[in-house]
């Protein structure tokens, strides 16, 4: 007890003496804007995936063949999509607008501009949907979202390295003269009305096949949300794998476990969307660490570390999720059930070592000992790899047992323990990084402890993950 008490007391003194972060160079308003841009791009991709106008298979079968104008049947769907987009824009826009301006007129103008931009975006997506093209929208939006997070994080790290002081843009740069602001709003309003009229006219051109496809996706996603199945939600909204240009030969595969690794690498290589997730996952905590106001709050930076690295781990958990949903392919390999699960941790561990290492290196910029930060990130990877596999192979919710009433309907009693299966291990594995953030430095004893802790958690997570019977 004396030893523990002494250690805690020593840590408290070190935390209290933590040096001030001097690598926080990005204005908070800028970070708020890029995060909002990233969220807006993500929402645009979501709306494009869901139509934005859709019809249930039943509606396509019963209503669309009727000798009635299709535009009237689909107008309600358009109104619903526009309403949802405006609500999302206002929700995302409030913190951004407040970060840039505090005057009532400025806040109202900013929110109005956000809402009008949302209307324009939905209307343009409907026109694109009617034209039959636009498969490029989700990937482009995903790329915008990734660049919006990665770009400022990298730029902030470079600026901090060069010791350049950026001007504070908030408050001064955004104080547009009232006539100009009114003019911008008037133009946006005109564009929104024009786009809405155009979208309304093009409703008649929406093909039944496209309406059915987006309706099925929306139904699948909605059912997944209400059954609290995030894995099914990912499948509903996930992008399809594209046909590879060159077939793989895998001459290096000599053992059955290498076949699992080869298959998992192919999943990653053929899903550019996942590369973006990995980049965003690595950059998100760096962005927080470079932002004025946030960098001085190590607990908040630690939260972004967990969020970012969980995003990266989730993107690498896709093979485990697929194998859990359809285990028959793995049964064709001469490898035991437990060995398959262990082999499935190889790719996440290798890739996360790079993601977490680079991310930690940049987070620790300005606190000295970059090698220690890099190694601390690398040794955290086994825990997150275990989290990816544990989450992918988690059992389905048990709806046969007792249920609880909730605002979303009945939910099984064990829902929370099932849903946190995976992130729980990652969260625990990140504790040494959080401690390093609190200390403002990475002592080497912490790196050693983190390695043992992470290996133990990773082994526990993978060892207790089981393919479905």
């Amino acid at each position: 007890m004396a030893l523990c008490g002494g250690t805690v007391s020593s840590l408290r003194e070190q935390i209290a003496a933590r040096p001030a972060a001097d690598a926080a160079v990005l204005p908070g308003a800028l970070t708020a804007a890029v995060v909002a841009l990233s969220l807006a791009a993500g929402l645009t991709a979501l709306f494009a995936r869901l139509g934005p106008v859709s019809a249930t298979p039943a509606a396509v079968g019963w209503w669309l063949p009727l000798p009635a104008e299709r535009r009237g049947l689909l107008r309600g769907e358009l109104r619903r999509s526009v309403g949802l987009a405006v609500a999302a824009a206002l929700t995302v826009g409030v913190p951004v607008v407040l970060a840039w301006t505090r005057t009532p007129a400025g806040v109202l103008a900013g929110l109005a501009a956000g809402a009008l931009l949302a209307v324009i975006a939905v209307a343009v997506l409907v026109v694109r949907q009617a034209g039959g093209g636009g498969g490029w929208v989700p990937p482009v939006a995903g790329a915008v979202a990734a660049v919006a997070v990665v770009g400022p994080a990298v730029a902030g790290s470079v600026v901090a390295r060069l010791d350049v002081v950026l001007p504070d843009a908030a408050g001064r740069a955004w104080s547009l003269p009232a006539p100009l602001a009114s003019g911008v709003l008037a133009v946006l309003l005109g564009l929104a009305v024009l786009c809405l009229v155009l979208a309304d006219r093009r409703l008649a051109d929406l093909p039944a096949g496209a309406l059915r496809a987006s309706g099925e996706t929306a139904q699948y996603a909605t059912a997944s949300v209400f059954s609290l199945d995030t894995r099914e939600l990912g499948r509903a909204l996930g992008t399809t794998v594209r046909r590879p240009r060159r077939p793989l030969a895998w001459r290096w595969v000599r053992h059955p476990w290498q076949a699992v690794v080869a298959g998992d690498l192919a999943v990653l290589a053929r899903s550019p969307w996942r590369w973006g997730q990995l980049a965003v996952g690595a950059a998100l905590p760096v962005l927080a660490a470079r932002t004025e106001g946030l960098a001085g709050l190590p607990a908040l930076v630690a939260v972004t570390v967990v969020l970012g690295w969980w995003l990266a781990a989730t993107s690498l958990g896709e093979p485990s999720r697929r194998a859990s949903a359809a285990p028959a392919a793995d049964r064709g390999l001469p490898l035991g059930g437990a060995a398959v699960v262990w082999a499935r941790a190889v790719v996440p561990a290798a890739v996360l070592a790079g993601v977490c290492g680079v991310s930690a290196l940049l987070i620790g910029q300005g606190t000295g000992a970059p090698a220690a930060w890099l190694v601390l990130g690398v040794v955290t990877a086994p825990a997150w790899a275990g989290a990816a596999v544990r989450a992918g192979y988690r059992p389905d919710l048990d709806w046969s047992g007792p249920v609880l009433a909730s605002p979303m309907g009945a939910v099984p009693v064990g829902v929370s323990s099932t849903l946190v299966r995976g992130p729980d291990v990652g969260l625990l594995g990140t504790a040494p990084v959080a401690l390093a953030l609190l200390l403002g430095a990475v002592p080497w004893w912490l790196v050693g402890a983190a390695l043992l802790w992470s290996l133990a958690l990773g082994a526990l997570a993978v060892g207790t993950a089981r393919p479905p019977d």
Binding site: V241, P247, A249, G263, R322, G332, G337, D469
Partner: protein, 225 residues
């Protein structure tokens, strides 16, 4: 020597058996057909015999030991087509076969895969992802996946399903040759010609009893309806 043996095996879901208890064995160099009307329990018997479902009662043994579907040795020895979507969805058909062959240490894997693709008429679609194949093509790819690798026992659930007449004949002849070479096949089927070509014995799956009969008797029973 018996490869797979079921003794008074009761199969079903929950605690309700779907058919009478089954006693049957499959030896190397033999093919055993499971016949019976739709819903008789043929697929449930197959899945229980390969360890995908727990038996309600009785025993099932593979090479003298208990069946453990998660065991590497069992997976190396037994190839099955029981599921329509037993594919790695990010791999093309040819890649799926190649990875399976390499995992099983098949020599000249690329040539073997090319030969299987040709045998199942999939050469033109070798570069397509499973999701881009028709249901019949996916069925042929699944069968090719079971035959591209070595196995002591093949377990097939209605292998003739979604195959045209010519392909059914090709498959039956191929499996018969495999049995002649010492392999074993356990399969469920509704196709009298397929059963007649391939089976050495037939297990008639029924509600009251599950007798093992000569394949001619099973075919006659099928043709009588």
């Amino acid at each position: 020597m018996v490869l797979l043996a079921a003794e008074q095996l009761s199969v079903g879901y929950g605690d309700a058996p779907v058919c009478a208890p089954v006693t049957v064995s499959v030896a190397p160099g033999t093919a055993v057909a499971l016949v019976g009307p739709n819903g008789a329990g043929k697929s449930t018997v197959l899945q229980t015999m390969v360890g995908l479902l727990p038996p309600l009662a009785g025993t099932v043994r593979f090479a003298g030991g208990p069946v453990d579907e998660r065991d590497a040795g069992f997976r190396r020895s037994v190839a099955g087509v029981l599921d329509d979507d037993a594919f790695f969805p990010s791999l093309t058909g040819a890649e799926h076969l190649l990875l399976t062959a390499r995992a099983h240490g098949v020599a000249d894997a690329e040539q073997v895969v090319a030969a299987e693709l040709a045998a199942f008429g999939l050469t033109d679609r070798a570069g397509a992802l499973p999701s881009a194949l028709s249901s019949g093509q996916r069925r042929r790819l699944a069968l090719a996946g079971a035959l591209v690798r070595p196995a002591d026992l093949l377990v097939l659930d209605e292998p003739e399903r979604r195959l045209d007449t010519a392909m059914r004949r090709v498959l039956a002849d191929r499996l018969a040759a495999l049995v002649d070479a010492g392999g074993a096949v356990l399969f469920a089927s509704h196709d009298p010609a397929f059963i007649g070509t391939l089976a050495d014995l037939a297990l008639v799956v029924g509600e009251d009893e599950c007798p093992v009969v000569a394949p001619e008797d099973a075919v006659a029973a099928l043709q009588e309806g």
